[in-house]
Structures are given as C-alpha cells and as structure tokens.
C-alpha cells in the first residue's frame, strides 16, 4: 500500500486508450455477474415471497434469515465460501445472490400488499380464478413497488461485484482494475474501475425505469399530475 504514489497524474488518459479491450471484457463480465446474481435472487425471492404471502407466519422468520445474510460482510462471505466452492465464479455468485434476497423479498411482499383489498375483491367477483387474480391483477399492480426493489438490488449488486475481485481476476468484473491498481500503486485503473461501475449502475437503473414505464402505462398519467 505504501507503493501508492501521489506524484503520478490522477488519471493517465493514454492508459485508458490502450486498454479499451480489457475494459470492455471487464464490463461484460461485470454485467454477467450482476445479471446472474439478480436473476437467481429474483427467482429465489419470488418463491420465498409466495410462501410468505400464503403463510403469513413465515414472513418474520424469512425476513430475519435474509436480514442476517445481508448483514454478513460481503468481503468475509467471499472469503468464507472459498474453502467450500473455491476461487470461482460460483463463490462470487452465491455471495452476491445472498445480498439481493432481503431487498427483493421485502419489495415483492410489500408490492402484493399494496394492492387494495377492494381491487382484489372486484377481481374475485368478476370470476377471476386465484391464478388469474394473481397474474392479471395483483402482480401488474404490484409491479412499481417490485421494480423499485429490483432497482435497489441491481444497483447494490453492481457496487458489490468489485469486491469479489478478491477471488481473482476472473471474478471481479471492473473490480479487477481496482485491485490491480491497488497492488501496483497505479491510480488510473482504480479510477477507471470505479467510474465505469457507477456508470453501469446508472445505465441499468435507467433501463429498469424505462421497462417499468412500458409495462405499467397506467402509472404514467398518475405521475404527470
């Protein structure tokens, strides 16, 4: 760490030009790690949420367990898993998934809960089956809340992926640059890693908002007022 040199320029622009290929590879890897983690997290959370909605009594225990998983320091979880799953992508993904569960689980349940009882009863009165009620009425109406949770989970995961770089250069996405810069006392890659991480998060966030607006056109008019 003492190798950090303050006298070098904060950013050496030519380095960025010379490493565009690597930056692209890291970006793609970062995206992959994020997508898999959020995707798997979403499926698991949906199952947990379905259980919690059906059997209310399970809500608190599931909430507590996912809360504890969220509390385990990311750095430590990456490390603790290595004796079991090695320095692999699997280790990174297990840790990343475990961080998405709490926020996704809570937002799915909160979303379904936000559907007014009157709407639910109307659907029932119109002869919707349970299944239709869930998929055609409750989930569409719950979508804005669910997506808000999905956005937080996605953005947080993008910010956590760099730490998984401690497992090696194949697991860190843009974090690889940060660890590389730290090890060599070279600022530029650290800035590149950090900046692109934030940009990626912004891009994914915007993408999710756009998607949500497309899927729930009725919310647009409400917002305009």
């Amino acid at each position: 760490m003492s190798a950090l040199v303050a006298s070098q320029p904060l950013i050496r622009w030519s380095w960025i030009g010379d490493h565009l290929g690597e930056i692209r590879t890291a970006l793609v890897q970062h995206l992959e790690l994020t997508f898999v983690a959020v995707g798997v997290g979403l499926v698991l959370s949906a199952v947990l949420a379905a259980v919690a909605i059906r059997f209310r009594i399970t809500y608190q225990p599931i909430n507590a367990v996912t809360g504890i998983m969220y509390a385990i320091p990311s750095l430590a979880l990456f490390i603790l898993l290595t004796p079991i799953t090695g320095l692999t992508k699997l280790t990174a993904e297990i840790a990343l998934v475990s961080y998405t569960l709490q926020i996704l689980f809570r937002s799915i349940v909160a979303g379904i809960d936000s559907v007014p009882a009157s709407v639910r009863e109307s659907a029932q009165a119109m002869g919707y089956t349970r299944w239709q009620q869930r998929w055609r009425v409750e989930i569409p109406l719950a979508l804005p809340v669910m997506v808000s949770g999905l956005r937080i989970a996605t953005v947080t995961t993008v910010g956590l992926v760099p730490i998984s770089g401690i497992l090696g250069s194949d697991q860190g996405g843009l974090g690889t640059f940060i660890f590389d810069g730290l090890n060599r006392g070279f600022n530029t890659p650290i800035f590149v890693g950090a900046t692109f991480t934030v940009l990626l998060a912004v891009a994914l966030d915007v993408l999710l908002v756009r998607t949500q607006r497309l899927l729930t056109p009725w919310t647009r008019r409400v917002r305009a007022t």
Partner: protein
C-alpha cells in the same frame, strides 16, 4: 474438527481477547469507524431529507439521485481516498458516509412527504411557525421512517467497515483479512460472527428506539406501506 468447533476454540483462546489484536480492541476500533460515519451521515442525510422533503417540488429526481448513490463502490472510494489522503481512518469514514447517506436521506425524505398535508395545514392554521411545524408535527410523524433509514444504514456500515482492513486500517475486518492471508478460516469466521453480532444488536436497539418514539401505540412502523409509496421513478 468442524467449523463450529474451530470457532468455539478461537473464541475460547484467551490470547484472542488481549492486546492490540484482541476482540475488545478490534470491536472498539470497529465501533469507532461506525460512530464517526453514522454521526456525519446522520446529519447530512436527515437534514437534507427533511429540508428537501418539505419543499413542494417533485421528488422524482432527488430520489433517483439518492438511489444511484447506492452504486458507488465503497471499496473504490476507500482506495481513491487512500491515494489522496494517505493511509488512515479518514478514507474509510468517507466511504462509509457515502454508503450511509442514501438510505437515511431517502427515508427521511419519504417520511416528511408521507405526512398528511391536511395535518400540516392544520398546524399552520393554528399559527405554528414553519420551524415549529417541522419540529412538532413533521419530524415526530416521520420518526418511524427516519429511524428505519438510520437502522438500514447503520447495519450496512457495520457490515461494510471490514473493507477498512484492505487498506491497513483496524476494526473487525483485520480478522477477516489477516485470517484469509494465512488461510486461518477460524479467525475469518470469528470476524464474521462478531460483525453479525453487532448487526443483531443494532436491530434490537432500533426496534427498542422505534417503540420508544411512538408512545401509547405499540404498532410497528408501517415500513412496507411506505416502501410502496417510496417507489422511485
């Protein structure tokens, strides 16, 4: 030897409870980082959230900016901070503050927005000054949400402070990083156990505070309902 047994042996070893690398010292270092970060982030987040939440302008942009704040990789901030400011606790505290502000801000902001405008109007009609309305009406009514934001940030700070060890600072992250360096997973596990224990204490503390600040009624803060209306976008 099972992992649990190794952990037990580690905690049972008196050597791990004494001196600069002992549990009490490391816990104190951890709490020191936590206290500074939360104090600064609390002031910034609560003040900003309350003031911006009171303004009549649309909050969409504000909430979205705060949301993106969650993507700032703490690790990168720490490393960049070390380059600029040198080794020490300052870069770590800066990173933890950046981590802690968005949830505190968002919840304080939403909390004030959630207060029924009719209630605020009544207070105004009764002749309360704006400062008095904020202090006696809006803040008390927003308290459950404000506390929830602080609770979330506090847990996140406790769980993220171990990153400090990557740049040579103290705290419970030392056990994680030093343990990993010599492949002593009992030590890593001990670090994790202590952090999780702190987070659990944090949850209990805030559950108690939440009850304390809502006298008379023993209801839990309606967090899930507020979550629904907090929808950024």
């Amino acid at each position: 030897m099972s992992a649990l047994h190794q952990l037990f042996v580690w905690f049972n070893d008196p050597a791990n409870w004494q001196g600069g690398n002992g549990v009490p010292e490391r816990v104190l270092q951890h709490l020191w980082l936590w206290a500074w970060s939360m104090a600064i982030a609390g002031v910034i987040g609560v003040t900003g959230g309350l003031l911006l939440g009171r303004s009549r302008r649309s909050g969409t942009v504000t909430i979205n900016v705060a949301n993106i704040g969650r993507a700032i990789p703490s690790f990168a901030v720490i490393v960049i901070g070390v380059i600029w400011l040198g080794l020490g606790n300052t870069p770590v505290v800066i990173a933890l503050v950046l981590l802690a502000v968005p949830p505190i801000f968002t919840f304080a902001f939403t909390g004030v927005r959630e207060v029924d405008p009719a209630t605020v109007e009544s207070a105004r009609g009764m002749g309360m000054t704006e400062a008095r309305i904020l202090r006696s009406v809006q803040v008390p009514l927003a308290m459950p949400l404000i506390l929830n934001g602080i609770r979330l940030s506090s847990a996140a700070v406790l769980a993220t402070a171990p990153l400090a060890a990557l740049v040579g600072s103290g705290g419970l992250g030392r056990y994680v990083i030093d343990g990993f360096a010599i492949r002593d997973y009992a030590e890593v596990g001990a670090g994790v156990t202590l952090v999780v224990a702190l987070v659990v204490v944090n949850e209990l503390l805030f559950a108690w505070l939440a009850r304390l600040t809502s006298p008379g009624k023993r209801r839990r803060p309606r967090v899930s309902g507020a979550f629904a209306r907090m929808t950024p976008g």
